[in-house]
Protein backbone atom coordinates (compact mmCIF):
# COMPACT_ATOMS: atom_id res chain seq x y z
CA UNK A 1 0.00 0.00 0.00
CA UNK A 2 1.46 3.33 -0.96
CA UNK A 3 2.37 5.59 1.88
CA UNK A 4 0.25 8.68 2.03
CA UNK A 5 2.28 11.83 1.50
CA UNK A 6 2.36 14.44 4.28
CA UNK A 7 0.77 16.93 1.93
CA UNK A 8 -2.25 14.70 1.42
CA UNK A 9 -2.55 14.01 5.10
CA UNK A 10 -2.48 17.72 5.91
CA UNK A 11 -5.13 18.46 3.30
CA UNK A 12 -7.30 15.69 4.62
CA UNK A 13 -7.03 16.88 8.20
CA UNK A 14 -7.87 20.43 7.18
CA UNK A 15 -10.67 19.26 4.96
CA UNK A 16 -12.30 17.11 7.60
CA UNK A 17 -11.92 19.92 10.13
CA UNK A 18 -13.67 22.25 7.70
CA UNK A 19 -16.52 19.76 7.38
CA UNK A 20 -16.87 18.92 11.03
CA UNK A 21 -16.01 21.95 13.14
CA UNK A 22 -19.46 23.51 12.72
CA UNK A 23 -21.23 20.20 13.25
CA UNK A 24 -19.32 19.50 16.43
CA UNK A 25 -19.90 23.02 17.61
CA UNK A 26 -23.59 22.57 16.92
CA UNK A 27 -23.78 19.43 18.97
CA UNK A 28 -21.78 20.87 21.82
CA UNK A 29 -23.87 24.01 22.08
CA UNK A 30 -27.09 22.04 21.92
CA UNK A 31 -26.27 21.04 25.45
CA UNK A 32 -25.64 24.63 26.46
CA UNK A 33 -27.76 25.73 29.37
CA UNK A 34 -27.51 29.33 28.33
CA UNK A 35 -29.73 30.73 25.65
CA UNK A 36 -26.82 32.36 23.96
CA UNK A 37 -25.00 30.33 21.42
CA UNK A 38 -21.84 32.21 21.95
CA UNK A 39 -21.20 31.66 25.61
CA UNK A 40 -21.07 28.39 27.46
CA UNK A 41 -23.45 28.36 30.44
CA UNK A 42 -23.19 24.82 31.62
CA UNK A 43 -24.41 21.42 30.52
CA UNK A 44 -28.12 20.91 30.08
CA UNK A 45 -30.54 18.88 28.01
CA UNK A 46 -33.34 21.37 28.42
CA UNK A 47 -33.47 22.26 24.76
CA UNK A 48 -34.07 18.67 23.77
CA UNK A 49 -36.97 18.49 26.16
CA UNK A 50 -38.36 21.73 24.80
CA UNK A 51 -38.07 20.31 21.32
CA UNK A 52 -40.47 17.52 22.07
CA UNK A 53 -42.95 19.92 23.56
CA UNK A 54 -42.88 22.23 20.61
CA UNK A 55 -45.95 21.24 18.66
CA UNK A 56 -45.02 23.44 15.74
CA UNK A 57 -41.80 21.55 15.23
CA UNK A 58 -43.46 18.20 15.77
CA UNK A 59 -46.18 18.96 13.24
CA UNK A 60 -43.64 20.11 10.72
CA UNK A 61 -41.57 16.99 11.28
CA UNK A 62 -44.62 14.80 10.79
CA UNK A 63 -45.53 16.59 7.58
CA UNK A 64 -42.00 16.28 6.25
CA UNK A 65 -41.95 12.60 7.10
CA UNK A 66 -45.25 11.86 5.37
CA UNK A 67 -44.21 13.86 2.35
CA UNK A 68 -40.87 12.14 2.14
CA UNK A 69 -42.30 8.65 2.52
CA UNK A 70 -44.93 9.02 -0.17
CA UNK A 71 -42.85 11.02 -2.61
CA UNK A 72 -39.88 8.69 -2.25
CA UNK A 73 -42.03 5.67 -2.99
CA UNK A 74 -43.73 7.16 -6.04
CA UNK A 75 -40.47 8.66 -7.24
CA UNK A 76 -38.77 5.27 -6.96
CA UNK A 77 -41.48 3.62 -9.02
CA UNK A 78 -41.36 6.28 -11.72
CA UNK A 79 -37.60 6.56 -11.65
CA UNK A 80 -37.11 2.80 -11.92
CA UNK A 81 -39.50 2.62 -14.86
CA UNK A 82 -37.63 5.41 -16.61
CA UNK A 83 -34.29 3.75 -15.85
CA UNK A 84 -35.43 0.47 -17.35
CA UNK A 85 -36.90 2.26 -20.35
CA UNK A 86 -33.68 4.13 -21.03
CA UNK A 87 -31.29 1.25 -20.63
CA UNK A 88 -33.16 -1.86 -21.64
CA UNK A 89 -35.82 -0.92 -24.12
CA UNK A 90 -33.55 0.02 -26.98
CA UNK A 91 -34.09 2.97 -29.23
CA UNK A 92 -37.70 3.95 -29.04
CA UNK A 93 -39.15 7.07 -30.49
CA UNK A 94 -38.54 10.02 -28.21
CA UNK A 95 -35.84 8.33 -26.19
CA UNK A 96 -33.53 11.33 -26.32
CA UNK A 97 -36.25 13.56 -24.96
CA UNK A 98 -37.00 11.20 -22.11
CA UNK A 99 -33.33 11.05 -21.27
CA UNK A 100 -33.08 14.82 -21.36
CA UNK A 101 -36.19 15.33 -19.25
CA UNK A 102 -34.81 13.01 -16.62
CA UNK A 103 -31.45 14.73 -16.52
CA UNK A 104 -32.56 18.35 -16.65
CA UNK A 105 -33.88 18.77 -13.10
CA UNK A 106 -30.62 17.34 -11.82
CA UNK A 107 -28.61 20.09 -13.37
CA UNK A 108 -30.99 23.00 -13.13
CA UNK A 109 -30.62 25.29 -10.15
CA UNK A 110 -33.48 24.63 -7.79
CA UNK A 111 -34.78 28.14 -8.08
CA UNK A 112 -35.60 27.52 -11.74
CA UNK A 113 -37.39 24.27 -10.97
CA UNK A 114 -39.31 25.97 -8.18
CA UNK A 115 -40.39 29.00 -10.16
CA UNK A 116 -41.40 26.98 -13.22
CA UNK A 117 -43.38 24.45 -11.21
CA UNK A 118 -45.17 27.17 -9.30
CA UNK A 119 -46.08 28.94 -12.49
CA UNK A 120 -47.48 25.68 -13.81
CA UNK A 121 -49.66 25.28 -10.75
CA UNK A 122 -50.87 28.85 -10.87
CA UNK A 123 -51.79 28.57 -14.50
CA UNK A 124 -53.45 25.17 -14.29
CA UNK A 125 -55.41 26.47 -11.33
CA UNK A 126 -56.74 29.10 -13.68
CA UNK A 127 -57.32 26.84 -16.66
CA UNK A 128 -58.62 23.62 -15.18
CA UNK A 129 -59.23 24.43 -11.58
CA UNK A 130 -56.59 22.20 -10.13
CA UNK A 131 -54.84 22.85 -7.82
CA UNK A 132 -57.34 25.15 -6.19
CA UNK A 133 -55.06 25.69 -3.29
CA UNK A 134 -51.47 24.82 -2.97
CA UNK A 135 -50.81 22.33 -0.28
CA UNK A 136 -49.86 18.74 0.24
CA UNK A 137 -50.71 17.63 -3.27
CA UNK A 138 -48.63 20.29 -4.97
CA UNK A 139 -45.73 19.64 -2.64
CA UNK A 140 -46.03 15.96 -3.39
CA UNK A 141 -46.01 16.48 -7.13
CA UNK A 142 -42.99 18.78 -6.97
CA UNK A 143 -41.05 16.48 -4.68
CA UNK A 144 -41.81 13.41 -6.76
CA UNK A 145 -40.69 15.18 -9.90
CA UNK A 146 -37.24 16.17 -8.80
CA UNK A 147 -36.66 13.04 -6.71
CA UNK A 148 -37.42 10.64 -9.52
CA UNK A 149 -34.56 12.00 -11.59
CA UNK A 150 -32.11 11.05 -8.87
CA UNK A 151 -33.56 7.58 -8.68
CA UNK A 152 -33.20 7.19 -12.43
CA UNK A 153 -29.52 8.06 -12.24
CA UNK A 154 -28.92 5.35 -9.66
CA UNK A 155 -30.95 2.77 -11.59
CA UNK A 156 -29.41 3.46 -15.01
CA UNK A 157 -25.96 3.25 -13.51
CA UNK A 158 -26.74 -0.12 -11.97
CA UNK A 159 -28.47 -1.49 -15.06
CA UNK A 160 -25.59 -0.50 -17.31
CA UNK A 161 -23.03 -2.26 -15.19
CA UNK A 162 -25.12 -5.38 -14.74
CA UNK A 163 -24.45 -8.50 -16.79
CA UNK A 164 -27.35 -8.34 -19.23
CA UNK A 165 -26.83 -11.89 -20.40
CA UNK A 166 -28.72 -13.21 -17.39
CA UNK A 167 -31.82 -11.57 -18.81
CA UNK A 168 -31.19 -13.26 -22.14
CA UNK A 169 -30.69 -16.53 -20.29
CA UNK A 170 -34.06 -16.13 -18.65
CA UNK A 171 -35.69 -15.46 -22.02
CA UNK A 172 -33.93 -18.46 -23.46
CA UNK A 173 -35.33 -20.61 -20.67
CA UNK A 174 -38.88 -19.70 -21.52
CA UNK A 175 -39.77 -16.53 -19.63
CA UNK A 176 -41.65 -13.79 -21.38
CA UNK A 177 -40.17 -10.30 -21.03
CA UNK A 178 -42.41 -9.21 -18.17
CA UNK A 179 -41.51 -12.38 -16.31
CA UNK A 180 -37.83 -11.67 -16.86
CA UNK A 181 -38.38 -8.26 -15.34
CA UNK A 182 -40.15 -9.73 -12.35
CA UNK A 183 -37.90 -12.73 -11.77
CA UNK A 184 -34.50 -11.47 -12.75
CA UNK A 185 -34.05 -7.77 -13.40
CA UNK A 186 -35.84 -6.27 -10.44
CA UNK A 187 -34.47 -8.69 -7.85
CA UNK A 188 -30.93 -8.22 -9.08
CA UNK A 189 -31.12 -4.42 -9.01
CA UNK A 190 -33.08 -4.34 -5.77
CA UNK A 191 -30.16 -2.88 -3.76
CA UNK A 192 -30.03 -0.04 -6.24
CA UNK A 193 -33.78 0.47 -5.95
CA UNK A 194 -33.40 0.68 -2.20
CA UNK A 195 -30.56 3.19 -2.52
CA UNK A 196 -32.69 5.19 -4.88
CA UNK A 197 -35.54 5.23 -2.40
CA UNK A 198 -33.26 6.36 0.40
CA UNK A 199 -31.81 9.07 -1.78
CA UNK A 200 -35.27 10.30 -2.75
CA UNK A 201 -36.38 10.18 0.87
CA UNK A 202 -33.45 12.23 2.08
CA UNK A 203 -33.75 14.76 -0.70
CA UNK A 204 -37.42 15.27 -0.01
CA UNK A 205 -36.91 15.55 3.70
CA UNK A 206 -34.24 18.14 3.22
CA UNK A 207 -35.61 20.28 0.43
CA UNK A 208 -35.89 24.00 0.97
CA UNK A 209 -36.09 25.95 -2.26
CA UNK A 210 -38.60 23.98 -4.28
CA UNK A 211 -40.78 23.48 -1.23
CA UNK A 212 -40.78 27.18 -0.57
CA UNK A 213 -42.19 27.85 -4.00
CA UNK A 214 -44.77 25.13 -4.17
CA UNK A 215 -46.22 24.89 -0.71
CA UNK A 216 -49.28 26.62 0.55
CA UNK A 217 -49.99 28.60 3.66
CA UNK A 218 -49.93 26.49 6.75
CA UNK A 219 -47.96 23.72 5.12
CA UNK A 220 -44.71 24.05 6.92
CA UNK A 221 -42.26 21.31 6.39
CA UNK A 222 -39.43 21.01 8.83
CA UNK A 223 -36.88 22.73 6.58
CA UNK A 224 -39.32 25.58 6.00
CA UNK A 225 -39.73 26.01 9.72
CA UNK A 226 -36.04 25.92 10.34
CA UNK A 227 -35.40 28.38 7.54
CA UNK A 228 -37.90 30.82 8.96
CA UNK A 229 -36.39 30.58 12.39
CA UNK A 230 -32.85 30.77 11.15
CA UNK A 231 -33.51 33.96 9.31
CA UNK A 232 -34.27 35.46 12.66
CA UNK A 233 -31.10 34.20 14.20
CA UNK A 234 -29.44 31.23 15.78
CA UNK A 235 -31.41 29.65 18.62
CA UNK A 236 -30.56 26.72 20.85
CA UNK A 237 -33.63 24.62 20.10
CA UNK A 238 -32.57 24.49 16.49
CA UNK A 239 -29.19 23.37 17.76
CA UNK A 240 -30.90 20.51 19.51
CA UNK A 241 -32.89 19.64 16.40
CA UNK A 242 -29.79 19.71 14.28
CA UNK A 243 -27.90 17.50 16.67
CA UNK A 244 -30.72 14.99 16.69
CA UNK A 245 -30.76 14.85 12.92
CA UNK A 246 -27.00 14.47 12.81
CA UNK A 247 -27.25 11.65 15.33
CA UNK A 248 -29.96 9.84 13.38
CA UNK A 249 -28.10 10.16 10.09
CA UNK A 250 -24.84 9.13 11.70
CA UNK A 251 -26.49 6.05 13.15
CA UNK A 252 -28.02 5.20 9.80
CA UNK A 253 -24.81 5.63 7.87
CA UNK A 254 -22.79 3.67 10.42
CA UNK A 255 -25.23 0.79 10.56
CA UNK A 256 -25.52 0.51 6.79
CA UNK A 257 -21.76 0.71 6.43
CA UNK A 258 -21.28 -2.12 8.89
CA UNK A 259 -23.95 -4.24 7.25
CA UNK A 260 -22.48 -3.71 3.81
CA UNK A 261 -18.94 -4.42 4.96
CA UNK A 262 -20.01 -7.62 6.69
CA UNK A 263 -21.91 -8.84 3.64
CA UNK A 264 -18.98 -8.01 1.40
CA UNK A 265 -16.55 -9.86 3.65
CA UNK A 266 -18.77 -12.91 3.76
CA UNK A 267 -18.98 -12.86 -0.01
CA UNK A 268 -15.23 -12.68 -0.41
CA UNK A 269 -14.81 -15.59 1.94
CA UNK A 270 -17.31 -17.65 -0.05
CA UNK A 271 -15.53 -16.90 -3.30
CA UNK A 272 -12.15 -17.78 -1.84
CA UNK A 273 -13.53 -21.01 -0.42
CA UNK A 274 -14.98 -21.97 -3.78
CA UNK A 275 -11.68 -21.33 -5.51
CA UNK A 276 -9.73 -23.27 -2.94
CA UNK A 277 -12.01 -26.21 -3.35
CA UNK A 278 -10.87 -26.61 -6.92
CA UNK A 279 -12.95 -27.52 -9.90
Amino acid sequence: MRRVSPFLITMMVLGYAYLYVPIISLVVFSFNKSRLVTVWGGFSTVWYARLFENSQILDAAWLSLRLALISATVATILGTMAGIALVRLGRFRGRTLLSGLFTTPLVMPEVLTGVSTLMLFLLTAKWIGWPSRRGFSTLLVAHITFSMTYVTTVITSRLSSMDASIEEAALDLGSAPWQVLRDITLPVISPAILSGWLLAFTISLDDVVITSFTNGPGYNTLPMLVWAKVRLGVTPDINALGSLIVAVVAAGVTVSSIVITRAERRRQRDIAAALAEGT
Binding site: I23, G90, V234
Partner: protein, 303 residues
Protein backbone atom coordinates in the same frame (compact mmCIF):
# COMPACT_ATOMS: atom_id res chain seq x y z
CA UNK B 1 -37.97 2.66 -36.12
CA UNK B 2 -36.56 -0.76 -35.43
CA UNK B 3 -38.46 -2.46 -32.61
CA UNK B 4 -36.69 -2.86 -29.27
CA UNK B 5 -34.62 -5.99 -28.97
CA UNK B 6 -36.79 -8.41 -27.10
CA UNK B 7 -39.77 -6.62 -25.64
CA UNK B 8 -43.14 -6.79 -27.27
CA UNK B 9 -44.19 -3.51 -28.72
CA UNK B 10 -47.58 -3.71 -27.13
CA UNK B 11 -48.32 -3.84 -23.48
CA UNK B 12 -45.61 -3.66 -20.91
CA UNK B 13 -43.01 -1.68 -22.71
CA UNK B 14 -45.52 1.01 -23.56
CA UNK B 15 -46.49 1.33 -19.93
CA UNK B 16 -42.92 1.36 -18.71
CA UNK B 17 -42.01 4.07 -21.17
CA UNK B 18 -45.29 5.92 -21.13
CA UNK B 19 -45.99 6.55 -17.48
CA UNK B 20 -42.73 8.28 -16.54
CA UNK B 21 -42.76 10.01 -19.89
CA UNK B 22 -46.19 11.47 -19.28
CA UNK B 23 -45.20 12.66 -15.83
CA UNK B 24 -41.98 14.20 -17.06
CA UNK B 25 -43.75 16.03 -19.87
CA UNK B 26 -46.39 17.36 -17.56
CA UNK B 27 -44.14 18.43 -14.74
CA UNK B 28 -40.75 19.07 -16.30
CA UNK B 29 -41.24 20.02 -19.93
CA UNK B 30 -44.45 22.02 -19.63
CA UNK B 31 -43.20 24.21 -16.77
CA UNK B 32 -40.06 25.02 -18.73
CA UNK B 33 -42.21 25.77 -21.74
CA UNK B 34 -44.39 28.07 -19.65
CA UNK B 35 -41.37 29.95 -18.43
CA UNK B 36 -40.06 30.31 -21.93
CA UNK B 37 -43.42 31.56 -23.15
CA UNK B 38 -43.94 33.95 -20.26
CA UNK B 39 -40.62 35.61 -20.90
CA UNK B 40 -42.17 37.07 -24.00
CA UNK B 41 -45.11 38.59 -22.20
CA UNK B 42 -45.52 41.94 -20.57
CA UNK B 43 -46.07 42.57 -16.89
CA UNK B 44 -49.41 44.00 -15.92
CA UNK B 45 -51.14 44.86 -12.72
CA UNK B 46 -53.55 42.04 -13.00
CA UNK B 47 -54.11 38.51 -12.03
CA UNK B 48 -52.36 36.70 -13.53
CA UNK B 49 -49.77 39.45 -13.81
CA UNK B 50 -48.83 38.97 -17.41
CA UNK B 51 -50.25 39.74 -20.80
CA UNK B 52 -49.19 38.96 -24.31
CA UNK B 53 -49.15 41.93 -26.69
CA UNK B 54 -52.36 42.25 -28.69
CA UNK B 55 -50.54 42.84 -31.92
CA UNK B 56 -48.86 40.13 -33.91
CA UNK B 57 -46.43 38.46 -33.22
CA UNK B 58 -47.79 38.62 -29.72
CA UNK B 59 -44.28 38.57 -28.42
CA UNK B 60 -42.69 41.23 -26.34
CA UNK B 61 -38.98 41.50 -25.89
CA UNK B 62 -39.28 44.14 -23.25
CA UNK B 63 -38.15 41.96 -20.41
CA UNK B 64 -35.10 40.86 -22.30
CA UNK B 65 -34.24 44.39 -23.22
CA UNK B 66 -34.46 45.52 -19.64
CA UNK B 67 -32.50 42.55 -18.50
CA UNK B 68 -29.61 43.13 -20.80
CA UNK B 69 -29.49 46.88 -20.39
CA UNK B 70 -30.01 47.24 -16.67
CA UNK B 71 -26.71 46.92 -14.91
CA UNK B 72 -28.32 45.43 -11.84
CA UNK B 73 -29.24 42.27 -13.68
CA UNK B 74 -26.04 42.03 -15.61
CA UNK B 75 -24.03 42.54 -12.45
CA UNK B 76 -26.06 39.93 -10.66
CA UNK B 77 -25.35 37.41 -13.39
CA UNK B 78 -21.71 38.30 -13.20
CA UNK B 79 -21.55 37.93 -9.45
CA UNK B 80 -23.35 34.61 -9.60
CA UNK B 81 -21.13 33.11 -12.26
CA UNK B 82 -18.04 34.47 -10.60
CA UNK B 83 -19.02 33.02 -7.25
CA UNK B 84 -19.90 29.72 -8.86
CA UNK B 85 -16.54 29.58 -10.60
CA UNK B 86 -14.59 30.47 -7.49
CA UNK B 87 -16.54 27.98 -5.43
CA UNK B 88 -15.96 25.25 -8.00
CA UNK B 89 -12.25 25.89 -8.15
CA UNK B 90 -11.98 25.95 -4.37
CA UNK B 91 -13.98 22.76 -4.06
CA UNK B 92 -11.61 21.19 -6.53
CA UNK B 93 -8.49 22.42 -4.76
CA UNK B 94 -9.69 21.20 -1.39
CA UNK B 95 -11.60 18.15 -2.56
CA UNK B 96 -9.07 16.62 -4.93
CA UNK B 97 -6.37 16.00 -2.31
CA UNK B 98 -9.00 14.60 0.01
CA UNK B 99 -10.33 12.24 -2.65
CA UNK B 100 -6.80 11.22 -3.58
CA UNK B 101 -5.91 10.65 0.05
CA UNK B 102 -8.97 8.45 0.43
CA UNK B 103 -7.65 6.14 -2.26
CA UNK B 104 -4.28 5.80 -0.58
CA UNK B 105 -5.12 5.08 3.04
CA UNK B 106 -5.62 1.63 4.48
CA UNK B 107 -8.88 -0.18 3.89
CA UNK B 108 -10.10 0.28 7.43
CA UNK B 109 -9.26 3.97 7.47
CA UNK B 110 -10.87 4.35 4.07
CA UNK B 111 -14.16 2.96 5.28
CA UNK B 112 -14.31 5.29 8.24
CA UNK B 113 -13.14 8.35 6.33
CA UNK B 114 -15.56 7.72 3.51
CA UNK B 115 -18.37 7.46 6.01
CA UNK B 116 -17.28 10.79 7.40
CA UNK B 117 -17.66 12.36 3.96
CA UNK B 118 -20.99 10.70 3.30
CA UNK B 119 -22.41 11.79 6.64
CA UNK B 120 -22.53 15.53 5.86
CA UNK B 121 -23.88 14.60 2.44
CA UNK B 122 -26.92 12.95 3.98
CA UNK B 123 -27.36 15.47 6.78
CA UNK B 124 -29.75 18.31 6.31
CA UNK B 125 -28.20 20.96 4.12
CA UNK B 126 -29.95 23.78 5.86
CA UNK B 127 -28.77 22.71 9.26
CA UNK B 128 -25.19 22.56 8.16
CA UNK B 129 -25.40 26.08 6.76
CA UNK B 130 -27.00 27.07 10.00
CA UNK B 131 -24.09 25.52 11.88
CA UNK B 132 -21.69 27.89 10.19
CA UNK B 133 -23.91 30.89 10.85
CA UNK B 134 -23.47 30.22 14.52
CA UNK B 135 -19.73 30.24 14.13
CA UNK B 136 -19.46 33.22 11.85
CA UNK B 137 -21.32 35.63 14.09
CA UNK B 138 -19.22 38.36 15.58
CA UNK B 139 -19.49 37.01 19.11
CA UNK B 140 -18.95 33.33 18.52
CA UNK B 141 -16.00 31.45 19.94
CA UNK B 142 -14.81 30.75 16.44
CA UNK B 143 -14.79 34.40 15.52
CA UNK B 144 -13.01 35.33 18.72
CA UNK B 145 -10.44 32.65 18.02
CA UNK B 146 -9.82 33.93 14.53
CA UNK B 147 -9.69 37.51 15.67
CA UNK B 148 -7.23 36.56 18.35
CA UNK B 149 -5.04 34.82 15.81
CA UNK B 150 -5.29 37.74 13.46
CA UNK B 151 -4.44 40.23 16.16
CA UNK B 152 -1.44 38.25 17.26
CA UNK B 153 0.10 38.39 13.82
CA UNK B 154 -0.75 41.89 12.87
CA UNK B 155 0.63 45.19 14.26
CA UNK B 156 -1.31 47.10 16.93
CA UNK B 157 -2.69 49.66 14.52
CA UNK B 158 -4.59 47.05 12.55
CA UNK B 159 -6.16 45.24 15.47
CA UNK B 160 -9.85 44.38 15.22
CA UNK B 161 -12.52 43.78 17.79
CA UNK B 162 -13.98 41.06 15.66
CA UNK B 163 -13.79 39.97 12.06
CA UNK B 164 -16.90 40.69 10.04
CA UNK B 165 -17.66 37.48 8.24
CA UNK B 166 -21.41 37.43 8.07
CA UNK B 167 -23.21 39.21 5.26
CA UNK B 168 -20.22 39.29 2.99
CA UNK B 169 -19.56 37.67 -0.33
CA UNK B 170 -16.69 35.85 1.31
CA UNK B 171 -19.18 34.22 3.66
CA UNK B 172 -21.29 33.09 0.74
CA UNK B 173 -18.38 31.42 -0.99
CA UNK B 174 -17.12 29.96 2.26
CA UNK B 175 -20.44 28.35 3.10
CA UNK B 176 -21.08 27.26 -0.49
CA UNK B 177 -17.77 25.45 -0.63
CA UNK B 178 -18.58 23.88 2.70
CA UNK B 179 -22.00 22.69 1.55
CA UNK B 180 -20.98 21.41 -1.85
CA UNK B 181 -17.61 19.90 -1.01
CA UNK B 182 -19.00 16.34 -0.72
CA UNK B 183 -20.52 16.73 -4.19
CA UNK B 184 -17.03 17.27 -5.55
CA UNK B 185 -15.28 14.65 -3.46
CA UNK B 186 -17.61 11.72 -4.12
CA UNK B 187 -17.54 11.66 -7.94
CA UNK B 188 -13.80 12.35 -7.87
CA UNK B 189 -13.23 9.54 -5.44
CA UNK B 190 -15.36 7.18 -7.52
CA UNK B 191 -13.22 8.02 -10.54
CA UNK B 192 -9.85 7.82 -8.78
CA UNK B 193 -10.72 4.63 -7.00
CA UNK B 194 -11.34 2.83 -10.29
CA UNK B 195 -8.00 3.76 -11.80
CA UNK B 196 -5.47 1.07 -12.53
CA UNK B 197 -2.67 1.43 -9.98
CA UNK B 198 -0.27 -0.52 -12.16
CA UNK B 199 -0.13 2.42 -14.55
CA UNK B 200 1.32 4.56 -11.79
CA UNK B 201 3.73 1.80 -10.92
CA UNK B 202 4.79 1.54 -14.54
CA UNK B 203 5.46 5.27 -14.66
CA UNK B 204 7.58 5.09 -11.54
CA UNK B 205 9.41 2.09 -12.89
CA UNK B 206 10.28 4.19 -15.94
CA UNK B 207 11.83 6.84 -13.76
CA UNK B 208 9.15 9.42 -12.96
CA UNK B 209 9.03 11.04 -9.55
CA UNK B 210 5.74 10.99 -7.64
CA UNK B 211 4.64 14.49 -8.59
CA UNK B 212 5.28 13.73 -12.25
CA UNK B 213 3.42 10.47 -11.96
CA UNK B 214 0.50 12.43 -10.64
CA UNK B 215 0.64 15.01 -13.43
CA UNK B 216 1.21 12.53 -16.23
CA UNK B 217 -0.84 9.54 -15.21
CA UNK B 218 -3.31 10.22 -12.42
CA UNK B 219 -4.55 13.68 -13.26
CA UNK B 220 -5.42 13.11 -16.94
CA UNK B 221 -7.37 9.98 -16.05
CA UNK B 222 -9.34 11.79 -13.38
CA UNK B 223 -10.74 14.39 -15.74
CA UNK B 224 -14.18 12.75 -16.04
CA UNK B 225 -14.44 12.88 -12.26
CA UNK B 226 -13.37 16.51 -12.23
CA UNK B 227 -16.01 17.37 -14.81
CA UNK B 228 -18.74 15.51 -12.97
CA UNK B 229 -17.84 17.03 -9.63
CA UNK B 230 -17.35 20.45 -11.15
CA UNK B 231 -20.77 20.47 -12.75
CA UNK B 232 -22.42 19.26 -9.57
CA UNK B 233 -20.95 22.28 -7.80
CA UNK B 234 -21.07 24.97 -10.46
CA UNK B 235 -24.62 24.68 -11.70
CA UNK B 236 -26.51 24.65 -8.41
CA UNK B 237 -24.24 27.33 -6.97
CA UNK B 238 -24.97 29.69 -9.83
CA UNK B 239 -28.64 29.62 -8.89
CA UNK B 240 -28.23 29.47 -5.12
CA UNK B 241 -30.57 31.58 -3.06
CA UNK B 242 -30.66 30.08 0.40
CA UNK B 243 -27.03 30.61 1.28
CA UNK B 244 -26.72 34.13 -0.09
CA UNK B 245 -29.97 34.98 1.63
CA UNK B 246 -28.71 33.80 4.98
CA UNK B 247 -25.10 34.88 5.03
CA UNK B 248 -24.60 37.11 2.04
CA UNK B 249 -24.76 40.75 1.24
CA UNK B 250 -28.27 41.30 0.00
CA UNK B 251 -27.48 44.63 -1.61
CA UNK B 252 -25.37 42.75 -4.14
CA UNK B 253 -27.63 39.79 -4.81
CA UNK B 254 -26.98 36.63 -6.74
CA UNK B 255 -29.25 35.77 -9.61
CA UNK B 256 -31.32 33.21 -7.71
CA UNK B 257 -32.42 35.85 -5.24
CA UNK B 258 -33.19 38.23 -8.10
CA UNK B 259 -35.49 35.72 -9.76
CA UNK B 260 -37.24 35.03 -6.51
CA UNK B 261 -37.67 38.73 -5.86
CA UNK B 262 -38.99 39.54 -9.30
CA UNK B 263 -41.47 36.75 -9.01
CA UNK B 264 -42.56 36.97 -5.42
CA UNK B 265 -42.10 40.59 -4.50
CA UNK B 266 -42.49 42.52 -7.72
CA UNK B 267 -44.99 40.13 -9.27
CA UNK B 268 -43.11 40.66 -12.48
CA UNK B 269 -43.56 37.20 -13.94
CA UNK B 270 -42.25 37.99 -17.41
CA UNK B 271 -39.08 39.39 -15.94
CA UNK B 272 -38.56 36.45 -13.64
CA UNK B 273 -39.20 34.22 -16.63
CA UNK B 274 -36.77 36.10 -18.82
CA UNK B 275 -34.01 35.94 -16.24
CA UNK B 276 -34.71 32.24 -15.81
CA UNK B 277 -34.44 31.66 -19.52
CA UNK B 278 -31.15 33.51 -19.75
CA UNK B 279 -29.79 31.65 -16.73
CA UNK B 280 -30.84 28.37 -18.26
CA UNK B 281 -29.18 29.23 -21.55
CA UNK B 282 -25.99 30.28 -19.81
CA UNK B 283 -25.93 27.04 -17.93
CA UNK B 284 -27.01 24.96 -20.89
CA UNK B 285 -23.50 24.66 -22.19
CA UNK B 286 -22.20 22.83 -19.14
CA UNK B 287 -25.54 21.07 -19.06
CA UNK B 288 -24.98 19.61 -22.53
CA UNK B 289 -21.48 18.61 -21.56
CA UNK B 290 -22.96 16.78 -18.60
CA UNK B 291 -25.65 14.99 -20.63
CA UNK B 292 -23.32 13.93 -23.40
CA UNK B 293 -20.77 12.76 -20.86
CA UNK B 294 -23.46 10.78 -19.04
CA UNK B 295 -24.70 9.08 -22.20
CA UNK B 296 -21.19 8.29 -23.32
CA UNK B 297 -20.50 6.78 -19.91
CA UNK B 298 -23.68 4.74 -20.17
CA UNK B 299 -22.87 3.55 -23.67
CA UNK B 300 -19.41 2.62 -22.54
CA UNK B 301 -20.86 0.71 -19.64
CA UNK B 302 -23.34 -1.33 -21.56
CA UNK B 303 -21.22 -1.93 -24.69
Amino acid sequence: MKPAAWFDRRGWSDVIIGVPYAWAIAFVLVPIGIIAALSFAEPVMNSPPYMFPKAWPHLSFGSYERLLSDSVYVRSFGVSLLNASIATVLCLLIGYPMALGLTRVSKAANRVLLMLIVLPFWTSFLLRVYAWIGLMGNNSWFNRLLTGLYNSIVPQAWHLGSIQIMYTNFAVIFVVVYSYLPFMILPLYANLEKLDRTLEEAAMDLGSRPYRVFLDVTLPQSIPGIIAGGLLVFIPTAGELVIPGLVGNMSDPMIGAVISEEFGLNHDWPMAAAISVVLLMVLVVPLMVYTRYQSRAQAGGSA
